[in-house]
């Protein structure tokens, strides 16, 4: 299978870039560092779309790359199926645009090569989590991404950033400990670490106490990583303290890859989602949705407000996936994609305001629309999108989630989703009113719009926001439907992987 040879490149390219930049970064001009990083992330974006094309052409539902030629139950394998490809496209779009944005934005920090090194290590971890087919390998990549994100949160080394990073590192390590123990239990129970093989063994064995116990451990671990409500305390600090381009990565894709993707992959494809687990997921999703949006209403720090909205929107994604019906999963995954687009855009906007006006406090800013037209325009699109105003992408995914709730008979959850959406709208109207409308303050007379690279990143994301709804059209729907099929097939994942291995 020649097509499978591109799978390891998703790990190799960012890892090599990180190594290369850290090695030569201090000897060359920072423009060249920018060019190397931009090229590398562009290459990753092209490969992720190419993977989509390869997967569309081949008859199997999954492509498997065997590392070192060892057959799967013994060696580590990498799997590219509909869900992995969906996540790869999401992650690499955001990563590419954030790298472009960082060309100018990161200039106020002293050490750009170190930033790119950590950034690409984080990208290595995320791409690795997505493509791996081995449970322990997933843990290793998860830790690579987590450790580099702890360091990136503390990148500015100011007092608040260090404090947030310490909190995040401790919580993240506790989460990793729970995940590790869960993996140890599963290994003891099934004597295998390959996820497909584990699914096969688990469906052949009679059920006993081990599976629910492991489910609880994973729910705690990945719940902490994805900041569902009882485990959310670290997120507002960490995401609001990091540099804006990193906040965009953390809120946009990191919590989804390490949290929601890993959770869905393990629960649906490996352990097999039981009714109890699904109802716990739905409950946690609805709780996160409501609690976080209420907490967000009272925030005056722009980035902290956005961070609370991340928790709330993750609630929508988890609620959709937790419904377990194909329609619900479609809504959840579509909202995952949309949220990563508009939340990254909102964080990049907050970075642009910070870059020009040097403030993050909503009470300080006023009338910035006159001086920052591009930022204000893209922010308006993103705000309407997150609040679910009709022609934009956020509306369609929220509508699908609410319809799926009604279809399955959970009227209460549907109502909660509507209420959370209304409160989100209220909160973003506050942002618009205080930041962009109103009279321009005297001290902001001299500020200028951000440089072109930052504008390019924001305008591209806003374009995707406007066009995102088109993904539901029949000619593009394979992108989402392939991902939905992987999750709704459940343990047939094992058949797909072994079928691809034997080819």
């Amino acid at each position: 299978m020649p097509g499978a040879n591109i799978i390891p490149l998703f790990v190799i390219i960012p890892l090599f870039t990180a190594f290369f930049i850290s090695l030569i970064g201090r000897f060359i001009k920072s423009t060249y560092v920018d060019i190397v990083s931009g090229l590398s992330s562009f290459l990753l974006l092209i490969f992720s779309f190419w993977g989509l094309a390869i997967l569309g052409r081949c008859p199997e539902t999954a492509l498997v790359y065997k590392i070192g030629g060892w057959l799967p139950p013994f060696g580590i394998c990498m799997v590219l199926d509909g869900l992995s490809n969906f996540m790869l496209v999401t992650v690499n779009i955001i990563a590419f645009l954030v790298v472009i944005y960082s060309f100018n934005y990161m200039e106020k920090y002293t050490d750009k090569p170190k930033f790119y090194t950590l950034f690409f290590l984080m990208l290595t971890g995320m791409n690795g989590v997505i493509v791996t087919g081995d449970l322990f390998n997933l843990f290793v990549f998860l830790e690579i991404a987590s450790i580099s994100s702890y360091a990136l949160v503390a990148f500015g080394t100011e007092a608040e950033e260090l404090e947030a990073s310490f909190k995040y590192a401790i919580m993240g390590s506790v989460a990793s400990a729970f995940i590790f123990i869960g993996i140890a239990f599963l290994y003891g129970f099934t004597s295998t670490l390959n996820m497909a093989d584990m699914a096969r063994v688990l469906s052949a064995k009679p059920s006993n106490w081990a599976v629910p116990f492991v489910s609880v451990l994973f729910l705690m671990g990945f719940g902490l990583k994805s900041a569902l409500v009882p485990f959310h305390a670290w997120l507002p600090d960490a995401h609001s303290s990091a540099p804006a381009s990193i906040s965009a990565m953390l809120s946009g894709v990191l919590i989804k890859t390490l949290g929601v993707y890993a959770l869905a992959r393990i629960f649906f494809n490996v352990i097999g989602a039981s009714g109890t687990v699904l109802s716990v997921l739905m409950f946690l999703g609805a709780l996160s949705m409501l609690v976080a949006v209420i907490l967000a209403l009272s925030q005056w720090d722009l980035k902290r407000l956005l961070a609370y909205h991340s928790i709330s929107q993750i609630g929508y994604v988890v609620l959709g996936i937790g419904l377990g019906t194909p329609l619900g999963i479609l809504g959840g995954l579509f909202h995952l994609f949309n949220h990563s687009i508009f939340k990254s855009l909102l964080f990049l906007n907050s970075g642009a305001i910070d870059y020009s006006a040097r403030t993050r406090d909503l009470r300080e800013m006023s009338g910035l629309r006159k001086k920052l037209p591009v930022t204000a325009g893209t922010n308006l699109i993103a705000s309407m999108s997150i609040a679910g105003i009709p022609p934009l992408n956020g509306f369609f995914s929220k509508l699908i989630i609410i319809l799926a709730c009604v279809q399955k008979g959970h009227i209460g959850y549907a109502l909660a989703a509507v209420i959370a959406s209304v409160l989100t709208l209220a909160s973003f109207m506050k942002v618009q009113k205080f930041a962009f409308l109103g009279p321009l303050k005297e001290k902001y007379q001299a500020i200028k719009e951000v440089p072109p690279a930052m504008k390019f990143a924001m305008v591209s994301l806003a374009t995707i926001c406007i066009l995102g709804g088109l993904l539901l059209l029949p000619s593009f729907s394979f992108f989402l439907n392939n991902a939905v099929n992987v999750l709704s097939d459940g343990r047939d994942y094992a058949l797909a992987v072994f079928g691809a291995v034997l080819k």
Binding site: F136, V140, E143, I147, Y150, A151, A154, T157, E158, A159, E160, L162, E163, A164, S165, F166, A169, I170, S173, V174, S176, A177, F180, I181, A184, Y187, G188, L193, P236, D237, S241, S298, Q299, D301, R304
Partner: protein
């Protein structure tokens, strides 16, 4: 069984340290204890009574051997734990430079 319970006790000691202690360094030590406990647990899972190390030699036959895979995995996990500890310690040192204290109840500029 006793060994597993002791392992659980060690894990709980670590978790207590992380959750209840006020000193940053003690929290980090608690994290370390937790990591030891989970590594120990994984090694215990692989242990077989009267087992020996799984090394093939030409002239002897191995009847009982321990499972070698978790040993390899735990080596990886120890390295990850080392990286986390090093990073967290360096952050704690920088926090001490900024705040002049290791007490987490006094390190609270972030709120809301």
């Amino acid at each position: 069984m006793t060994l597993y319970l002791l392992c659980l006790a060690l894990f709980c000691v670590g978790l207590y340290g992380v959750l209840r202690k006020r000193n940053l360094v003690k929290i980090i030590i608690g994290l370390g204890i937790m990591e030891y406990a989970m590594n120990l647990f994984f090694i215990l899972l692989a242990y077989r009574y009267h087992g020996r190390s799984p090394i093939e030699a030409q002239d002897q036959q191995i009847l009982q051997m321990v499972d070698p895979l978790p040993q390899a995995l735990v080596l990886t996990s120890i390295v990850i734990g080392l990286a986390v500890t090093a990073l967290v310690i360096s952050i704690a040192i920088r926090i001490y430079e900024k705040y002049g204290t290791f007490d987490i109840t006094e390190i609270k500029r972030l709120r809301g």
